[in-house]
């Protein structure tokens, strides 16, 4: 830890790869590219499509997959370097649904799928023939995922599915959905669940957009009313779906521990400019809060470095990711609230370009430094302590899995 040179804590081989990524980016990105955050939502969709195709052509789409299945087979360290450079440049690592298609489902199939499934699904994911979304949360099973009620029963060679899912991101862009459902009605809670692979375009599946409090339609409710899939469209064994689901959710991007703080660092820089614009550089309260925000970035960066070091060295990022989640979600709420206070009356009559695209959880590079964008960001930040495991759930995980405290009484 003490012997690396000051400029970079990375080994030379990683720096060489970084060089290649930078060259790739400057060759592929349009002149004057300012980051995804700088282009309007509608254009983003077009750009992301084209960019995904570029990545596919250059074999940079599924960086963690082995080359034999069309992946890039990068080492974790190179994945990290790639992610850092993409983040700096403000470009995504794939299409909108690839977090579900490649990262979650693809990785899970690689681990638990049959050879037939791998041969069939993985190429179709890369080619975008299949686009996946997630069918986990339900109206009555939010924090308590083991309480899913959607059920599937066998009918000959098929599973027949009845129930409802919600909070399905980009469901309207997907062709398929992986569905956690109850296949053994007599088993309790997380026993008796299975993970099924279901086509969306069929009579038994209905999608309804779910507007968020900012008025955006990123999410969907998905209704299953006699939807069907073949018996072999299951990941893992029947009634082993809980393990599959936990595996799937566990495929977090290890490099996010490094890239998320980078994005928040960009937020901080915009915020400093905002404070200057609103003539608050001499305002003591703003100075103290801004410094606290900067310390937050520094803390996330340090924790991120520690986490990716472990990840690169082959350790999984475990329950510590709950610490990171809790930290950044609170940081984001505090920091966007500071922005609102800096803007005063302008914050409540926001003008200028808003936050473009979905850019969740953090704003993309190039996000406009307007009251409109900050007000959007401020509102969206309320979701940060709710989605992907609420803060209450995260604190339970930290208390029980990291600190070893006894479970809640039930």
């Amino acid at each position: 830890m003490t012997s690396e040179r000051a400029a970079s804590p990375y080994p030379d081989s990683a720096e060489e790869f970084r060089q290649r990524v930078q060259e790739f980016l400057s060759a592929q990105l349009p002149a004057g590219w300012n980051g995804l955050g700088s282009i309007p939502t509608e254009e983003q969709v077009v750009f992301i499509d084209a960019w995904r195709a570029t990545l596919h052509r250059n074999n940079l789409l599924a960086v963690s997959w082995p080359e034999s299945y069309g992946g890039a087979g990068l080492t974790p360290l190179d994945q990290l370097v790639l992610a850092e450079e993409f983040t700096k440049a403000g470009v995504p690592q794939g299409g909108l649904n690839d977090n579900f298609s490649i990262q979650m489902l693809g990785s899970t199939l690689l681990k638990f799928g049959t050879e037939d499934q791998k041969q069939y699904y993985l190429p179709r994911i890369l080619s975008k023939d299949d686009v996946w979304c997630q069918g986990f949360s339900e109206p009555e099973a939010g924090s308590d995922l083991a309480g899913v009620r959607t059920r599937a029963h066998r009918d000959g060679d098929e599973w027949v599915i009845e129930g409802q899912k919600t909070w399905t991101s980009y469901g309207h862009l997907a062709t398929h959905i992986f569905v956690l459902c109850r296949t053994d009605p007599d088993a309790v809670r997380h026993r008796g669940l299975s993970l099924l692979l279901v086509k969306i375009d069929q009579p038994g599946v209905t999608l309804r957009p779910l507007k968020t409090l900012t008025g955006e339609e990123e999410f969907n409710e998905v209704f299953f009313d006699g939807a069907r899939c073949a018996v072999e469209s299951i990941v893992g064994e029947v009634n082993d779906g809980w393990r599959m689901a936990m595996t799937l959710l566990g495929f977090e991007r290890g490099e996010a521990a490094a890239t998320l703080p980078m994005k928040f660092g960009q937020d901080l820089e915009r915020l400093v400019q905002l404070a200057i614009r609103y003539d608050k550089a001499g305002d003591d309260t703003v100075r103290q809060r801004l410094a606290r925000s900067a310390e937050g970035v520094e803390q996330m960066r340090s924790m991120g470095m520690r986490a990716v070091s472990q990840w690169v060295n082959g350790h999984e990022i475990g329950a510590e990711s709950s610490i990171h989640k809790l930290f950044w979600s609170e940081w984001l709420q505090e920091t966007t609230e500071l922005a609102m206070d800096i803007m005063g009356i302008d914050g409540i009559i926001p003008t200028g370009d808003g936050l473009q695209g979905m850019s969740f959880p953090a704003a993309e590079a190039g996000t406009p430094n307007t009251s409109g964008a900050w007000a959007d960001y401020f509102l969206r930040a309320r979701a940060a302590t709710i989605y992907a495991g609420s803060s209450e759930i995260q604190r339970n995980i930290i208390g029980e899995r990291i600190l070893g405290l006894p479970k809640d009484a039930r």
């Binding site: 924090s143 914050g347 009559i349 979701a383 709710i386 609420s390 339970n396 809640d408």
Partner: protein, 369 residues
Amino acid sequence: MFFELDEDQEQLKDLMRSFLQQESPEHTLVQRTENSLERPHDVRVFDRLCAELELVGLAIPEERGGSGAGLVELFVVFEELGRVLYGGPLLSTMLAAELIVTADTEDDFAELLGQLLAGAVRGAVAGLEWNRPSGLTASQDESGHWIVSGVSDYVFDGTDADQVVLFADSGDGVRCFLVDQPEALERSAREQLDLTRPVGRIRFDAAPVTPIGSAASAAGVRERVVAVATLCITAEQVGAARRCLEISVEHAASRTQFGRAIGSFQAVKHRCADSAVLVEAASATGLHAAWALQQDAGQQDPVVRSAKSVCSEASVKVAASTIQVLGGIGYTWEHPAHLFYRRAITSRQTMGTTWQHRDDIASQLFARG
């Protein structure tokens, strides 16, 4: 004894509660907000609030055509209005009437006042700022007629009001005016975070105006109208916070996860308890401010200031907490929680930000100390 609502006040509260439950029910709030044609207020509701409940004149002396009730009653009414996020022109019309009653000692504007009290005319007050310049300047043209120029950035019901009164700086201090031709003003609606109360920007370009009351009394009039406006916002904040707490508790008691009502988990229970503390403290402080302002109009600043700062913080925290308790549901457009949150955030910056109020409180502490 001396710090509980009396029977009449309790009755007024019950009356408001049941009227608004019927006329402005929460389950249609999101839908009414979306329907921009009648957004966000309902003409019929406003008419009934004025004509049947006579709320514009509630705290105006009987000899001027009001009901002669006090600021405590006004607080009770606006707490209930805040509870349903009412955003119609009652506040703006009431403040316009308050301005006229306070400034117009000669009763020169009795007719206009009567129309405002009846709700036949909707009023708005421009240049109404706590602790900031009004943004408007008044001068006399060659013929001696007063004209006003400048921009008033954030006027409650500024776009649609029938009549506009205002505070403007006249060279030697502030003065009160009535705009002669309100239809000729350049007005624009502001898109704001709060989706439940329309505000407008009004540009005055040498607009002819008529003075209301004397130059000598105008500063006092502004102080009074600012204090009353702030008190009403404060009361709304208390009402909204209390309703948010109820929403949280209802959800926590009925929603089950892990086989238990989530309100039996301390994380949720204690969150609700913290909100209850905020609501109780805000409500007591707000009501005390109304009572103190009523008792001693000369000493209004400190208590109203504290109340605004306290209630702003409470309403924002409780609304945010409600979204958290509701979880995903609280993040949907369909649930009104976000409307409460938007209103809370907006009201916090209105009639003096918390920072401004605290800075003033500190100055008073040090001046006294």
